[in-house]
Symmetry: D3
Subunit: 317 residues, 6 copies
Amino acid sequence: MKDYQTGDLFHNFILIKEASKGTTSNGSPFLTLILRDRTGEIDAKLWDVTKEDEELFVAEQIVWIQGEVIQFRGKSQLKINSIRPAQVTDQVQIADFIERSPVERETLQEMLTEAVHEIENIKLQRIVQAFTTKYDHDLFTYPAAAKNHHNYASGLAHHVVSMLALARQLVMLYPEINKDLLYAGVILHDLGKIRELSGVVTTTYTVEGKLLGHIPMMVEEIGHVARELQIEGEEVTVLQHLVLSHHGKAEWGSPTPPLVREAELLHLIDLIDAKMNMLNRALENVNPGEFTERLFAMDNRAFYKPLFEKEIIKESV
Amino acid sequence: MKDYQTGDLFHNFILIKEASKGTTSNGSPFLTLILRDRTGEIDAKLWDVTKEDEELFVAEQIVWIQGEVIQFRGKSQLKINSIRPAQVTDQVQIADFIERSPVERETLQEMLTEAVHEIENIKLQRIVQAFTTKYDHDLFTYPAAAKNHHNYASGLAHHVVSMLALARQLVMLYPEINKDLLYAGVILHDLGKIRELSGVVTTTYTVEGKLLGHIPMMVEEIGHVARELQIEGEEVTVLQHLVLSHHGKAEWGSPTPPLVREAELLHLIDLIDAKMNMLNRALENVNPGEFTERLFAMDNRAFYKPLFEKEIIKESV
Amino acid sequence: MKDYQTGDLFHNFILIKEASKGTTSNGSPFLTLILRDRTGEIDAKLWDVTKEDEELFVAEQIVWIQGEVIQFRGKSQLKINSIRPAQVTDQVQIADFIERSPVERETLQEMLTEAVHEIENIKLQRIVQAFTTKYDHDLFTYPAAAKNHHNYASGLAHHVVSMLALARQLVMLYPEINKDLLYAGVILHDLGKIRELSGVVTTTYTVEGKLLGHIPMMVEEIGHVARELQIEGEEVTVLQHLVLSHHGKAEWGSPTPPLVREAELLHLIDLIDAKMNMLNRALENVNPGEFTERLFAMDNRAFYKPLFEKEIIKESV
Amino acid sequence: MKDYQTGDLFHNFILIKEASKGTTSNGSPFLTLILRDRTGEIDAKLWDVTKEDEELFVAEQIVWIQGEVIQFRGKSQLKINSIRPAQVTDQVQIADFIERSPVERETLQEMLTEAVHEIENIKLQRIVQAFTTKYDHDLFTYPAAAKNHHNYASGLAHHVVSMLALARQLVMLYPEINKDLLYAGVILHDLGKIRELSGVVTTTYTVEGKLLGHIPMMVEEIGHVARELQIEGEEVTVLQHLVLSHHGKAEWGSPTPPLVREAELLHLIDLIDAKMNMLNRALENVNPGEFTERLFAMDNRAFYKPLFEKEIIKESV
Amino acid sequence: MKDYQTGDLFHNFILIKEASKGTTSNGSPFLTLILRDRTGEIDAKLWDVTKEDEELFVAEQIVWIQGEVIQFRGKSQLKINSIRPAQVTDQVQIADFIERSPVERETLQEMLTEAVHEIENIKLQRIVQAFTTKYDHDLFTYPAAAKNHHNYASGLAHHVVSMLALARQLVMLYPEINKDLLYAGVILHDLGKIRELSGVVTTTYTVEGKLLGHIPMMVEEIGHVARELQIEGEEVTVLQHLVLSHHGKAEWGSPTPPLVREAELLHLIDLIDAKMNMLNRALENVNPGEFTERLFAMDNRAFYKPLFEKEIIKESV
Amino acid sequence: MKDYQTGDLFHNFILIKEASKGTTSNGSPFLTLILRDRTGEIDAKLWDVTKEDEELFVAEQIVWIQGEVIQFRGKSQLKINSIRPAQVTDQVQIADFIERSPVERETLQEMLTEAVHEIENIKLQRIVQAFTTKYDHDLFTYPAAAKNHHNYASGLAHHVVSMLALARQLVMLYPEINKDLLYAGVILHDLGKIRELSGVVTTTYTVEGKLLGHIPMMVEEIGHVARELQIEGEEVTVLQHLVLSHHGKAEWGSPTPPLVREAELLHLIDLIDAKMNMLNRALENVNPGEFTERLFAMDNRAFYKPLFEKEIIKESV
């Protein structure tokens, strides 16, 4: 949707992300739709809907729309001239309409597998392997968060793989680091999101996610997996500690702060990768000399893109 | 020790709570002992100790001492004239030297059992029962905390039983409360302390306790017990939530705040019982018209005992 | 209003809670009314109003309306076909249109009187009695707050009586408590609200209420009443302390925190009763498996009603 | 004491500020005395004391001492050779041994009286007059605080008079200010200290002071005085508001923040005068180019005295 | 605009403060204008605009409008019947349409010059003089802030001159103050605003202002000016410290808190003058017995104007 | 000193780090010395000192001592048998007695030079070069902080070089980063410490350092250097912004938070390198299974060294 201008005609498939019912002042029912394709979202109104319409046009339904992009109260809106649900024969699928990780899924899988193999401590490796096997599918489908950073398909795996690259460099710069522990922590730290979040299309929190949160759920699951693999010893406790403490502070959701070197590092790597992801995506949308919109998860700051960035890029060509 | 005055002679058994080595300025080794019986503690110095002395007189050892109570830098000290370790034939045991719950262990057991039986929801009851069976011994031995409140033998069970009494009354006053859930939460909320704390004599934190904390450990253990009992359903998640949130706020160690009515209530009951325990024990030691010492866990406040308390008590005779 | 659906006809008496003037873009004046009966509120517009209309249709006026419930911007609205002020002969009164305590006024009065009689300390009893006599009417009319908790007619008395029930149980569980002091504190703690708030229909803050607040006003009034009754002694000071400190912390409006056992307890009882009132009223409106709306006075949390509540209730039938 | 050096002989009258009992390791009782004259304090030990000594040499007793100034653990100490309590015939009085306001009491009285006469609003003037009459003695004796600022005899009056001078200038600079209200607020704002503090020699908090604090006590007293004078109207409420809010924030002891222009100003004037008093007294003790010790009541800052201050002073000679 | 009522006709020059484009639901473009004269602002809509209109009617353009004041959604709006840009021959200038300091520019200049001459320390005087010369124009044009206080033409100079008057009085009351240093600090403390803010008409932050802020910029500039004047010594550092610390706390933008007496005082004087300016302007708009709107920069408080203010003013006539 | 045990004899040169005078209870003067060599510190007492001794044995003086290591109050102390100041002919120098960066000075210089050459933006390169030339000596001598991290000779350069290594890796992982800007920020960010701290032996804060702090001083100095090099443009402002914001938050000393991507990154890199330095040095001193002492600059946490670290190290041999 990114490239559509006011006045452009639209006839294409698109995904309904949210649908909500309303009634006009004269009593006729209508639907407010939020539509999205891989590049962005647009609002639309469907007037004078029937009961069947209300059942057909719901969240996660792909539809074919013929219409026009108009302006309404300073925002783009898609004026619908005709609409129908996609059919099997249309050969479209939800995955085609949601944003995806910039790195291919296969690449992410390879890089993750490689990192698992680098873990020499056999206890840690077996636990990690059990998790990558268990969440084989979801790990490469889920976003890393409902919003803010890596909030796109495969975002979770993308986040993990970026952090592993960072971890690899840090291990070389600071040889005191226990590489096995750090790698294991990076790979597992956010896997609890798979149970905390509802999925990749309309990402909301599950009841379990709201009542427990991904951190305690993952601490529990590590304990469970270790029991099943009959692994005992401090590796299990310390790995649980890494997951438990990776938000860094009680106020941020870690009841215990990092008390092991690699736990502190895991927290810092997580911070860097999440922040770089947010910053890069926000700065992509502004020109040199401009500020981004305020970024809520970056303490509500608006970031500046210096004028001299541009010239440097030119020079580097 | 509470009743000994300066100048009193002492010849009795007593428990070494802590022992630490020192060296005088002229190079001779000595031991600083913290001694305790059921009513209180006193410091002592053992001069010119041999290697054997250092091995004999260690924490958790009961000793027979003959000496005198003196004043040193404004504090009472036990001047040791002679000392020897207790023998099997002395028929003394550690439990005789540590402070105990004011309510008898048998009473506590009965009251707890009764409460478990009152739980009608069969899933909750089975989980709770599994825990009371599993921790049959420690539940009635452990303190509820290393310091501050219920920090005495059977303190954990005493705290739970007092809270159950409060819960019973609240259920009658506010009939909307889910009694089963609240009872289950009260009984389990602090059981993680058994793994977090080292024991009842010299209560310190275990490594596991420091790295994970009693709350996440207990959340995990509830999940584990439920799996073993093949119990599924929201009862497990909500019970975990009660334990997870019972400190009330992220800053106080609950990454998720109470989001279920009984969770909020569990937090409040815990607060009342802990505070009443601290207050009553502190006020016991002062006369009407005086302030207690500052209580760290009560925001460092010193509490006042009104003058008119006394008279009322008299009148009520 | 709770049971009216879109499309329902309305012909009934109703109370104007608020009325505000507006002008349409073509210059004609209209009134926006907020109407309420005992069960809820609804908005209405009165178009093309005359000067007399503006004077007739004001806050706290009961009116007879014939109209229809419609939807406007996603909210219910009452479309007025005809309207007239209620007459004396209509025999309707404001009290019929405002939410009331679930416990009858007479019951509240009895329970309060009983508690006063239980106070054995003669100084405390005389002071409390002077206040219940002085505020005989308002105590059983006023809400306990402008919003959040017990914000309905007789809410103040309802709150006090619930707290007294709680206090009675606590006195039995913790016999160290000075019952007389705690009861006196419970009964008087919020009486300052009668001067702080404007009344029960459209509850706002008085100028005096804003500049001083109910806590300092009540501390002053206790001093004044004690002087008039020629009562001296620490009872007066300590009772003032209970009122002064009952919000628990400086940040919450108590310049002195609780420094007497019963003051701490008063604060905790107040917290429990206010929270249970808020929680129960919010959870009443949602089904098992749903979250309530965010409750501002509960740190903006949305509370969950577990699925298994329902079944338990069925079982208990 | 300020001018005594190590090795100096001492034979003079001096006041006992505090006396506490101790016992040496060989069991003989001694007294630790804190002695003071107008310029400072010094510690002393009195060895091998009898029961009579303990009763004679107590706080607020003037004594005649013959001794020598020595060094003990890096601090000056007065080695007592002989000591006796002062007699009536010695014609010494406590007031001679405590620090005093740099401005004479008579001047303070005149300046205060003048300000009272400047208040034109008759209600405010009568209330203020009632208080200056009532506290005629204590107002010119009490310190303004137990420590930190104006903590010397007549400190309270000195603080008030300095603030009045500031208020006078502000009224000229900002003619919108209600002078009468501001003056009344300045004069009364800290009078509650007279009941909150024990007196001028060994200034501690009274029980009433701890349980209520000077602010709520003064709010009450203004109400009481107004009632006695049969003064009604907003002047009373607003004057109470000024006293209530003069600490500026709930966290600092004002449950209501300033909501009237003169209340805000009163808070700021109080701040300036207290801070200037603390700063000037601390900077007096250091040379240009040095930092003062850390000032607890100034957020623990150490203040710097610039080098160029000196030269300017020289130039101005 | 302050005196216009609904229904009044308007034909006059007025300044466009902001202009933003919109599109109606049927696709026709319009402009939303914020118009202002010296006394206030009003919104207006310009319908069916052409490309030329969009270029003509932009921020900082003076226009002649013939229209009518109407009500729209409870706010006044100017209905435009005809509009044209002002011509050179119209002899109107932007300065005529923006709010101005209540004190004349010439008076401000005189008072500032006088204060500079009072500075006796030659180093400080030369630095200050260099700045008043350098910013001769902007100092008497710029506002002191984008909003909140002294946000009008010459507001910066007005703020400085008011603070100097306050400083003069304080120097007399507390003779320990280094007058030269305080005066220099007052005059320079906010001059960095000239680079931080864009100007006086539509005051926004410059890029440099956002990235550095007026405080660090001014610290740098003092260093630069001192170097150019070849002035060395602690005067430069201490003057920089005054500017650096004048916000009082790290959280408020001063990385170093005041550590010199005059720095502390500068912070307090700044506070008083800013607050009095905000308060007086807000209270001007309300009647006795009313509260102002909430003032964001005063911790969101609404201030009360007492009823008895009025009578006093009458009496003083 | 690290390898000396109680009872060991000592005859060697050592540096006096601090010397302070005292007086024994019988009036004889003594010196308390803190002595240090490259590996650690030890206390010593020098009894019965003469005036000459006091002048000879001062901070930063190297002395030859013959003595013995004893225990005093649980700490090691050097009992001095004889002492004399080092002579020129002893050929010892201060640098031999202070802790040094683990990386050689020459290596640090090479790595820094290399990084400077990698900066392609000519403006940034010239500014950075001007600083490395200007502080050629101090940059390779100064510690990075008075305590906490890199507090040893060449600590500043060591910190910068470690951060550059980190920056190099991040630039490869996130190609959007402006390498030139980040490198320039890393090299300059802490150079202000050279003026803020007194030097490398007894590192204290200079007056200028206390009144301004290294951040504002460096912002000023970049402006000054750019002016001298006649460099203009946004590079200067943005580079100043990086230095200004590198503490991340106002509360931590950055009045402006990072608002440019590389500023945010600089803050994070600084954090990682400082924390890794603190953690590695603290963990070096404990065995697997132990906790470090509490680290003040790491929120007072004690860190745990897992048991399984050891085995891994063995395996890797």
